[in-house]
Amino acid sequence: MDFLTDPVTFISQWVQQLLINLGIPEITAAQILPGVGAVILPLLAMLWVIFLIWYERKIIGRLQDRPGPNRVGPFGLFQPFADMAKIFTKEHITPTGADKVPYNLAPILAVGGVLGMWAVVPFSATVFGIDINVGALYIIAVGSIGTLGIIFAGYASNNKYAMLGAFRVVAQLISYEIPMVLALLVPVLLSRSMGMNSIVQAQPVWFLVVAPLPALLFFISSIAEVGRSPFDLAEAESEIVAGFNIEYSGLKFGMFFVGEFLHAFTNALIFTALFLGGWQGPGAEQYPILGFVYFILKTLVVHFLGIAIRGSMPRFRIDQVMQLNWKIFTPIALLSLCSAALVEKLAAGAGDLVRISLHVAANLVIFGVVILVGTKSLKERNARLDDLAASHRSAIHLVLGTPHDA
């Protein structure tokens, strides 16, 4: 194994050899190393956030025709460090009546829940966090820890705005978990496995191609899961002050944002692994480092998309968010799951091409149907609203008399 083609494996084997030479039994040595990896990876992820913050601010700035951070360091690269310095030295204020333990646990859970997802991310053909056979569900499970953090924050702050904000966010998060889980089920179904690495390996053809609708649903739902624009109900200042984290300050406050930035990126990682073939690409089997590069590149593209959406979309109202989820996403997710299962089974004997085209066709049909029904019902609703408005107007006229300007 060459250092250049697969550095991580190379180093780990080297260290393992070193340990064996030091007199540690081989089995123990083999067991220690992944443990060390399990310590290093979250650390790296945390450091990565520093880059992410800069990257995202820069892009958003560019999207909105601003330069973005540009003062500290070249291209403002050191801006996050400056921010860190500032936020680390800010006072922590605990509100009166706060429930201390949940209050302090909340930011930790918010970050920890996201970091935990990194455990199963398959970075390349040879380097993957920890390959468990329930990887896909594990991600969901760990993700729900973050939800818990938000409830804690909202409850423990002893502030009704925080509580309200937390309720809203949690309602949104759990709602969008449904289409997300259902969409995630499609890659699992297609690859017959919940292991992240097996899902990646099952994608000579990207699942984005095979299952565009679930991919879209997953993507949007994951944005909602992060709670970013257009789903940033938590930060609807005009409605609920600043959301569940209103009573936090200093680094505790910052941790929620670390969690958010990291979550956005983590979702891109997972999306890439699930739908964009992960590390798959030409030569990725022989040269795992290439696979890693592919993986990161794809992830950055996906992440960029997410940022672009954040930078360009207005916020939904909460009723819109809920209706979008339950009335559109969930039915679509169910439909596409059904179609995926049906096609997969019915076309089991057929060639890959037939199978995939049938999948795509089914997706298109569903999409078309949804668009049709959607526009139709939208029209009907608008007509209803118009009627309503008209009747209101006439009612007003009845009360106020005929308007003079008419």
Partner: protein, 502 residues
């Protein structure tokens, strides 16, 4: 997989019925839901048919995907289904056109629930005719197809719907009587209603029935069949029910009527008349050709003479189906030769093609009728400016109907003409008059509807064709092009079946 593999035909056949039952259970007020349920359910047979198409072994003789179950053991009639290369395109046509017609039905406002139920039952009836391998079953489905259509015309039709629907039902019922009689005769003589078995024993039969020699029985059965199917096709001079029924039927009804129902007759010729009565068919092929040529010529002339757009299209069906009959007649007259193969290929393909283009034409007529509430050609004019996309689509479908090379109609017409020329030279040459006037009436329709200065009467009243309507047309157009450019994918299947059958 296994279940589907074994019972795919039954599934295709009865899924629409299931859908009808489901709709029956839905509340009447939920019109949108009903529409969608109907549409979605009707997609299942289509999907299954497509799967069937891939599974179908075109180079295997005989019927495939056969299913047989006990039905009427006392009279040796079984529930026997099966398809071959002739019925498969027809099944595809039916399962394709039904969802499209249902999608087209979305604009129906009135009593949507019974409408949809009838429509889905109609689909079962039509499919049953195409895949039944038992004569009695064939007849049952034949009749099942009739009744919903009658109600569709009678309840959702135009102004003269009572007259039209009565004419339709009486005419076809009259034919059905002959059909039933003939089936009875065959069943009694052959001792079974099972089509493959009948085919095996039929030509070797001898003896008498009720004192009549078997030859006479055969002749009677033959003529009964011919009349029944000729009415359904319709062959000149049994055609006058068609313009009335088509004109008065609601648009989706016309689509199905022209697209599938007319094919039942031609299919009957192919499935029953030619294999069972080769000798009689050969003897009377000349007469059939005469009628076919009359249908072609007079159909074209009559269409040319119409001022009602829908009637024009209706007559064009007579004209086009004339080519099918011509092909069948050649197949009867020159059975076994290459000419017959070509002509029959052409006839079957023409059935399919006409299904596509006629459905498209009727739908387009319906589109403007819905907007303008008139079908009089003289009232239109200059619509191209108001509805450019509609104009483009109408031109496209019209050209398919006209038989423009590169589109589907040409391939089949060419095959028929090529097959019939050496056999019936004069008749073929005469049929060219019909072909010429096909062009004339299509063009005059286009001219009167689309061309000319903008008719101020319609400005602001006619909206462009909408997405749903385009969605109805799109599959038709794709198939029209696909067959026109690369007919081998469907013709190969038909061709092999035709060769093996005769």
């Amino acid at each position: 997989m296994d279940f589907i593999g074994k019972h795919i035909l039954t599934l295709i056949l009865f899924l629409p019925t299931v859908a009808a039952v489901v709709i029956f259970c839905l509340p009447k007020k939920r019109e949108l839901l009903i529409k969608w349920v109907a549409l979605l359910f009707s997609l299942f047979p289509l999907v299954l048919t497509i799967i069937l198409w891939f599974w179908f072994q075109s180079d295997q003789a005989g019927f495939q995907f056969q299913e047989q179950a006990i039905w009427f053991p006392s009279i040796a009639s079984t529930y026997h289904l099966g398809i071959d290369g002739i019925s498969l395109p027809m099944v595809l046509l039916t399962t394709l056109l039904t969802p499209l017609a249902l999608l087209a039905s979305f604009s129906i406002k009135d009593r949507i629930k019974p409408y949809m139920i009838l429509f889905l039952l109609l689909e079962t009836g039509m499919l049953g005719v195409f895949i039944a391998l038992d004569l009695l079953l064939f007849f049952v489905f034949w009749e099942i197809g009739l009744v919903p259509m009658y109600f569709l015309i009678n309840q959702w039709g135009g102004d003269k719907r009572n007259y039209a629907s009565l004419k339709f039902i009486l005419y076809t019922m009259a034919g059905s009587l002959g059909l039933l009689l003939s089936i009875q005769l065959i069943g009694v003589v052959a001792g079974t209603f099972d089509l493959p078995q009948v085919m095996k024993v039929w030509n070797g039969l001898s003896g008498t029935l009720l004192g009549l020699p078997i030859g006479t029985v055969k002749a009677v059965a033959f003529w009964a069949f011919v009349v029944a199917f000729a009415i359904k096709v319709p062959v000149w001079p049994f055609h006058t029910w068609l313009p009335d029924a088509h004109t008065e039927a609601p648009t989706p009804g016309s689509m199905i009527l022209a697209g599938v129902l007319l094919k039942l007759g031609a299919y009957g010729f192919l499935r029953l008349v030619l294999p069972l009565f080769p000798a009689e068919a050969k003897r009377f092929a000349g007469g059939l050709v005469f009628l076919a040529v009359m249908a072609i010529i007079f159909g074209a002339f009559a269409a040319f003479g119409q001022r009602d757009f829908k009637k024009l299209v209706a007559y064009s069906s007579i004209n086009h189906m004339g080519f099918v009959v011509l092909g069948i007649a050649v197949g009867a007259a020159a059975a076994g030769t290459e000419n017959a193969h070509l002509a029959l290929n052409g006839a079957v393909l023409q059935m399919f093609n006409h299904g596509l283009s006629a459905a498209g034409m009727f739908f387009l007529v319906g589109v403007i009728y819905e907007r303008a509430h008139t079908r009089n050609l003289d009232d239109f004019g200059g619509l191209f400016t108001l509805m450019p996309v509609f104009g483009g689509l109408l031109t496209f479908i019209s050209m398919a109907s006209l038989g423009l090379p590169g589109l589907n109609g040409f391939v089949s017409e060419f095959l028929v003409v090529r097959g019939s020329w050496p056999v019936f030279t004069i008749a073929t040459a005469l049929s060219m008059i019909g072909l010429l006037f096909t062009g004339a009436y299509i063009l005059i329709a286009l001219r009167k509807v689309l061309h000319g200065p903008v008719n101020n009467h319609w400005v602001g009243h006619l909206s462009e064709i909408n997405m749903r309507e385009i969605l109805v047309l799109a599959p038709l157009m794709v198939l029209i092009l696909a067959i026109g450019i690369w007919p081998a994918w469907i013709l190969d299947l038909i061709n092999k079946a035709v060769i093996m059958l005769y």
